[in-house]
Amino acid sequence: MIEVFFILAYAIIVAAFVRSKTHLRLHTRLEVLLLASAALAVGLYALTQRMTQGLGATTHLSDSFPWGIWISVDLCGIALASGGFILAGIVHLFRVHRLEPILRPTVLTAFIAYQLVAAILVLDLGRPLRFWHPLVMWQHHSVMFEITLCLALYTVVLALEFSPVLFEYLGFHRAVEALQKMTLPVVMAGVILSTLHQSSFGSLFLIVPQKLSPYWYTPILPILFLLSAVCAGLGVALLECVLFERAAGGERLDAGIVPMLARWTSRALMLYVIVRLTDLLVRGSWRAVFQHPWLDASLAVEIIAGSLLPALWLGRIAKRNAHQAAAAAVTVLGGVVWHRLNVSWFGLIPASGVFYVPSWLEIAITLALVMIGILVFIAAAQLLPVFPRR
């Protein structure tokens, strides 16, 4: 299944490259393509190893540390993909149509990211071929079950949200109209499903109060994950603005958009930081200070560099300044990613008694998948009417 995905994606990319009459300025250069091919080749080798040798021989996972970088990458990927539901909700439910130009690229990003997250989740299973079991063997006490169900349904929603672009390209105008009539309920379903599974990725860790460091274990993990996903989603939307201006060949976005998004991101981050710090204080987590100095450092990096700094920075971008906003947005994403690495990796190390570091095969597969994501985005952006044409 995943191999097919690989080959398909690669075919699309090559096709996009050959079709050199692009109307966009997102150049796929030969060097980039070579680098990508190398990453894909190594990734394909790593994947074959994983499928034939098993998890024990190819990963550094163990009975003491059964979840590794793939779960962490999934947690981060899902946060970065939340722009899809946030922007769709803002544009269609709250009717802020000013943001419409960046909706398509954001939904495309989300769609690709969800495919990757699902691919990694399946890859991480001991029995990947049974990935469909949760969908038929319901176990409603399990967060993992809820997530699987939501992911499957939300993928359908994202496909419905993005398919008008494809149909427009193919000239199926009837289909586009039919889909547009369904927009409201589809978007609403997307917002609901996302709220559920974005928070549930945090709920995954509620069952391990004795394993996760008190800096990161809290009963409000689902709320924190939802909030930080909103921050990350808005951050991605900001990045999408910059991309838009690069890709749409000189066409400029409405001048109010970047400051507006920056303000929203800043407020969302502020809310997140307040909730996060209040929770740390209320639970008395300072008692864990100095037990593992490197965890203290990790916490400091997460909160100061990853949340407080970008919140203040974004709050000061009053005039439209897409590039400054993009730099701040990257910091936001870094902070969210760091929080999730802490929850799913670093914060678990002391109690597990082993220092898990991923094997190069685990990393190679991850990088190859991310590379595929980027290439598919570029290919789709060049072939389909994602950005306005010049």
């Binding site: 021989a57 079991h133 079950f145 609901i192 509620l206 069952i207």
Partner: protein, 295 residues
């Protein structure tokens, strides 16, 4: 009403709706497990264990697990970790500062409210009415959430298998056609392991402590740990000294997840209501604005 004030009102409304749903959806998980008379259990009296590992050999044999080449005891053999092919083991435990090390048996505790069962997305782990936690390999997808969640580190993964790994763990020998109690308890030559009804065993454990307070700590490990377990331990040494986790909550861990998961229906209903009204209201406002612009 402008867009901004409407947004403010609707946020308040949404939070309120969520709170109401959270309250309505409040229900508790069965709390009667600890006193249920149908639950079986095993009492491990650490003071009676001589470290012969007869229980380990019996377990390996009954469950078709690999036997070590040389039969060993804790006194002459290596330290044996639990793994996919070893569901129980006995090792010397205890910090030397507190006296000579003593042999301690380990296996699945068969929690009354098992974390592993609650997290398994496909119900591959299942609790029988008598409390035994069984594994049904034909369902398992190998997600390893059970290993992650178990507070005692019990489920083990078949790391070597490429495409069909399974989970290995003690199932109280209840997976066999005729259930006559666990093989280990039958093999124990000293009576350190005693199989029976959990209620009766708990009473017996307390009686032993009462009669010989100089011999036992006043603590039955497993009475309350993680909401109580079917396997109960008696010891002369403090349990934390023997490598047991004594910091576990006194309630069943699944509760921690259920607090969040049970809100799902309420959240869905609240969001449907809030989002529909938001969308409707915003649509009206947009229309009005359009009309206003034209005039």
């Amino acid at each position: 009403m402008t867009r901004r004030t409407f947004l403010r009102h609707s946020t308040v409304g949404a939070l309120g709706a969520c709170a109401v749903c959270a309250g309505v959806a409040d229900g508790s998980i069965a709390a009667s497990a600890a006193t249920d008379a149908t639950r079986i259990g095993t009492l491990v009296d650490v003071t009676r264990c001589i470290g012969c590992r007869a229980c380990v050999r019996a377990c390996n044999q009954r469950n078709g697990l690999p036997q070590p080449e040389k039969p060993s005891t804790v006194w002459n053999g290596p330290v044996e970790e639990l793994n996919f092919g070893r569901w129980t083991t006995v090792n010397l435990q205890g910090t030397p500062a507190n006296g000579a090390a003593v042999p301690v048996k380990r296996q699945c505790m068969h929690c009354l409210e098992p974390a592993c069962v609650s997290v398994c997305p496909v119900a591959a782990l299942q609790q029988l009415p008598n409390g035994v936690v069984m594994y049904r390999k034909e369902r398992c997808i190998g997600c390893r959430y059970c290993m992650f969640a178990c507070p005692f580190g019990i489920p083990k993964f078949e790391w070597e298998a490429s495409l069909d790994p399974e989970i290995g763990k003690c199932q109280f020998c209840a997976q066999h056609a005729v259930f006559t109690g666990p093989a280990c308890a039958q093999a124990c030559p000293t009576g350190a392991l005693k199989f029976g009804s959990r209620q009766a065993l708990l009473a017996e454990a307390k009686a032993r402590i009462h009669v010989r307070p100089e011999r036992y700590r006043d603590h039955v490990y497993g009475e309350h740990e993680a909401g109580g377990t079917a396997w109960l331990y008696l010891s002369s040494r403090s349990f934390s000294d023997l490598g047991f986790n004594t910091q576990l909550p006194r309630f069943g861990l699944p509760r921690l997840t259920w607090v969040a998961l049970k809100l799902v229906p309420g959240v869905v209903i609240a969001l449907v209501i809030v989002l529909t009204s938001v969308s409707f209201r915003m649509g009206r406002l947009a229309q009005q604005a359009a009309v206003h612009d034209r005039t």
